[in-house]
Amino acid sequence: MLTPSQVVETYFLESRHQLLEIAAYLDRYDAAVARAGDRNGQAATDEKRLAVIRRALEIVAEQKPSQERTVALLELFATV
């Protein structure tokens, strides 16, 4: 099995890529809201899924989670 350093090194770029995609997703949403505002529109009528994504990011960032982050996220995503 991998050492802690090997885990960091092996999956760093892949994790960087995945986080950038999530950041772009949220930026894309903000840009869409701004465009809708220009046309007197509104934000998405149901932001529950977006709220779940934001909560998921908080769970991912926890230094010492009470359970595995993956389990917590799967349970969270099961609510939407």
């Binding site: 770029l13 890529h17 950038l20 995609e21 772009a24 894309r28 840009a31």
Partner: protein
């Protein structure tokens, strides 16, 4: 839809890639000189490599109906050998005379050292003196912002035609200063380490489509020539019209590369036989 792949390292790819690209609508590729994975020692190694991409590779692409163009350069990673760089640069004019060589590239920066900056300047200078186009590589990952800033500083100190220079591998943190300075920019779509198809479309929506080229690069590392088609699909999926897609993925390469008359593929406009505009 007809597609042009403006940055493609064909010698690292298979014939099957050519075949699949042709089936997906790719009509032309342009191959910059790049790093071989190790630092080359001899000028002759570069000369043979330039012969490969300017003489042999067009014949391989032609078997699939794809036009092949190329560029010549000493890679930034090899600029720490100034003697070698100077010797290779002496041979550039003989390649500028080849029927499919479009200019100098990919030059640029890797770690932004003094030798790299001097090599970049020498590459741009010879390109401008011979009326050639320039393709500039910007560094990967952590060095991206600093390296792009240094590229702009080096160019700012030179007498260059900015519309003939393409700064490649820009991302969200580097696109604006390059566009504001009047250069063309390129998005390079990699599976992991550069821009992604979705992020590229985000930038097209934010900055518009003028002076922007999209490419897959696709070399011997983890890369995929079909990230370009993924980007087209994403662009169309968001509701942009077929003509808008053609403007980005076919006509913009025509506009930039066509500044060299050897690149004679013309921009196209889709119209129904009646002459009315196409709505989708």
């Amino acid at each position: 839809m007809q597609i042009i792949q403006p940055h493609y390292h064909a010698i690292a790819r298979t014939a099957q890639d050519y075949e699949r690209m042709a089936m997906s609508g790719v009509v032309a590729v342009a191959e910059p000189a790049f790093w071989a994975g190790f630092d080359r020692k001899y000028p002759e190694t570069f000369i043979d490599y330039f012969r490969q991409i300017s003489e042999f590779e067009p014949t391989r692409a032609a078997q699939y109906g794809i036009r092949h163009f190329s560029w010549v350069a000493v890679n930034p990673k090899e600029a720490e050998n100034p003697v070698l760089t100077r010797e290779v640069l002496k041979h550039f004019p003989e390649f500028f005379a080849k029927p499919t060589v479009l200019g100098v590239g990919e030059t640029g920066l890797h770690k932004s050292t003094r030798n790299e900056c001097e090599s970049l300047e020498a590459h741009v200078e010879i390109a401008m003196r011979h009326g050639q186009l320039v393709l500039i590589h910007t560094p990967h990952l952590a060095d991206k912002a600093h390296g792009t800033k240094r590229v702009l500083e080096v160019l700012a100190g030179m007498n260059v035609d900015r519309e003939r220079i393409w700064i490649d591998h820009v991302e969200e943190q580097t696109i604006r200063p390059c566009l504001d300075a009047g250069y063309w920019v390129g998005f390079t779509l990699y599976p992991i380490t550069k821009c992604s198809p979705k992020r590229a479309v985000d930038m097209l929506e934010k900055y518009g489509t003028e002076r922007i080229l999209v490419n897959s690069s696709a070399d011997w590392g983890p890369s995929d020539p079909f990230t370009l088609q993924e980007c087209i699909l994403e662009f169309r999926r968001r509701g942009h019209s077929l003509q808008e897609a053609i403007e980005v993925f076919h006509n913009n390469p025509c506009r930039f590369l066509g500044q060299n008359p050897k690149f004679d593929i013309q921009p196209i406009r889709i119209e129904p036989a009646t002459g009315a505009a196409v709505s989708a």
